[in-house]
Amino acid sequence: MSLPQDMKKSLANYKHNSLFWTDLLYLMSNRQQSLAATGPFRKFAINAKNISTETIEMNEDMTEFNTRLSTYYKQLTDTWNEAQKEYSRKVPELPNDTEHMEASKRIWIDIYENYFTRLFDSADFAENFGKLVTSELEVAKHWNNMASTFLESANMPTKKEMDEVYKELHSLRKRVAKLEKIANKEGT
């Protein structure tokens, strides 16, 4: 399931308008911002546009996320209702002694377990869940980018820069291990 065409159109229109005004306001206020900003804020003033752009793009992804989330909850609710109907059919009256209570609990668990396992096993559920996680990750990516802008403004290492360090360390460790193996072989 994807977004309806008219919704996509209005989102694109909103995005274009927002970016246009963000750009223009940024250009118009650039010099004034630079004049007013001092110290670490100078860098932030330059990067401020990134925050607006990320926010606008995040809104778009939030729409997709909300659509997927609604489908996810609908799948859970529909399954719950179907299972409840089945349970009511099998256990029409509330049990009022221990034996019947135990038996009806077992029936309740079995019915709900079957219905929900069938749901989780279905391609529909897995597909929507996969897309739900993907849209969540898109939103997370915008958060990360915004956080990076703040970190960069404060002259602190960003996630991307830290990752470069991790990558470098990883490749160094591999090279050292390789050299150690060669040295050990030559030693023996």
Binding site: T98, T117, A126, Y166, A177
Partner: protein
Amino acid sequence: MANELKIDPRLMAEFIKLNKNIFDAPNLAKSLEEIDLEVTPHEVVYSEGKVRLLHFSPLVEKQIKTPLVIAYALINRFHILDIHPKKSWVRHLLTQGIDVYLIDWGTPTQINRHEGFDDYVNGYMDNCVDFVRKESSSEKISLQGYCTGGTLSTVYSALHSEKIKNLVLTAPVIDGRRDSTVVSNLAKHMDVDKLVDTLGNMPPELMYYVFSILKPFEQGFEKYLNFFKNIHDKEYVENFIRVEKWVSDTPPIPGELYRQWIKDVYQENLLINNNMYVGGRQVSLKNIAMPLLTQVAVGDHLVSPECSMPIHYAVSSQDKMLKIYPTGHVGMIASSFSQKKVLPEFAQWLTERSEK
């Protein structure tokens, strides 16, 4: 009154008893922090990064020379193999005179996000195996892999077959296409590239999600109801808390390792088709020619038997055995059933094929 609700007094009594048990629970059960999961004495004989190699102290005189190295899964920690003295996989093997080593993968952090199959198989595992070979003066070792540890052990045995005397695969993840579990269903629809590129490692909270949808009513409701019902049964309570502590300890999975595992095993099914590459080398299951024991459980809802069993037919081993047990994924390694049935058969199989 004709419509008066009649409730069995026994039902009321049970309800009151359950409430009393819930009230008494904090005085009868330890908190997770008070439990130490490391039961059987061992020492850390080798470590590299966050990975530790544990060597368990012998409980009886050694019966066989060939040591056994256990590669635990990447999900949760190794403690389930030694969860309780009466249900300990490791302890049982020690009492049979087997020399047991175990690889603890530790808890990876973001610094480990670039580690993949190559680092785990040709790096950590190979270094641990070489250490054991040297320390025990054995040219070859026996290797057991459980769950995803079974996948790693399969790849390792295919690439380093000259170091492996016997291979034991317990519920290994091999043929993703045949896997009929919920885990496999979700894995097949996951945009793993986006996940790893955005988050780095596979986060524990997503792993918890996957576990929470496996039998949600039995595991999320009935299990806890039974716990409160049995709160005065000391052994039951201790075992319950120990398993709960183990379940709650899910480390992240290194990003690159997770990416290749999901893609090559679940989505593209490369491992069983001999098309998986690790460290630039093709993983051919035909290279596995050593004796092989495959253990699967019919009630396994994490790795279905259909996913594990193809390894039995894909290898070129002449001496191979497939054992199918009427239990579940955890029941196969940490239960009274595993002590009575799975372990004695495993120990006998291993002893018969090891150097004395």
